[in-house]
């Protein structure tokens, strides 16, 4: 477990993920129950007019939240909200980012984003951690 004292405004927490693989998405489909075939089957993706299969938005959102997991002994994620800005394709390399914007009483306000290798934000939003 990490401690909340490590948080400071303007110092982002960052993690870069391995390139997105088909197996990542098959696992997420199975674990989440979201079997929309545009996430796993090439033919279905092209039928839908996509250049290839795309990651579940919720896969990226789920990954992004892990930046906060080490702190759950002192805080919990009270609010977490994102917009899905761009599609994530196989082989994309995502960097997950969270930066502390402000501390208001017992709440830590963060901006969060998942950015691809072209520096485009594919997921962007905010999170509030509430201290116990």
């Amino acid at each position: 477990m990490n401690i909340v004292k490590e948080f400071s405004v303007g110092t982002p927490i960052e993690v870069t993920l391995p390139p997105v693989s088909r197996l990542d998405l098959i696992k997420y489909a199975g674990a989440s129950g979201d079997f929309n075939p545009i996430h796993t089957i090439d033919e279905e993706a092209s039928k839908a007019g996509l250049p290839g299969i795309i990651a579940h938005g919720m896969w990226t959102m789920g990954n992004l939240a892990k930046l906060f997991t080490p702190y759950y002994e002192e805080v919990f994620l009270e609010d977490y909200s994102v917009a899905f800005k761009g599609m994530v394709f196989l082989g994309d390399v995502l960097t997950l980012k969270a930066s502390l914007v402000s501390i208001q009483n017992d709440r830590y306000h963060f901006d969060v984003a998942a950015v691809n290798q072209k520096n485009e934000s594919v997921v962007k939003g905010s999170a509030i951690l509430k201290r116990y």
Partner: protein, 149 residues
Amino acid sequence: MFESLMGTRSTPVKNIVERGSLKAFSKAIGDESPIYLDESVGKRSKYGCNIAPPTYPRVFDYGEIQGFHLPNVGLIHGKQSFHYERPLLVGETVMCSTSLEDYYERNGKSGLLGFLILKRYGEEPEGKLIFTEEQVVIITEAVREGMSS
């Protein structure tokens, strides 16, 4: 479109935060923290047991809003938010339901887009709120035409 269904809530469905499902989910999002998976770490934690990752409610069954049917292809997940009163605990029972909050249309690059706002609720069996979820689903013109024909 959907006006008559606005505000109608589905009958709550009983769900359980199952350890096996939680493990598969944690692996799938690359978040295999001991706070989710290691029983002894859970026991020693402030929760007294393991907790679930914040986006885990994706796996729950929320029931169906009567008369509300969406195609499962051609929809775009635009936005997603979660609000928690407290984390979800492993093994607990969660009563889940959903309602249609709003629907509106806007002009987009690919024609007239429909925006559906769906809300989801997770409550203790006694009715106390644990979390709410809100999603914005975008329906493209092509899909909407298919629905009304």
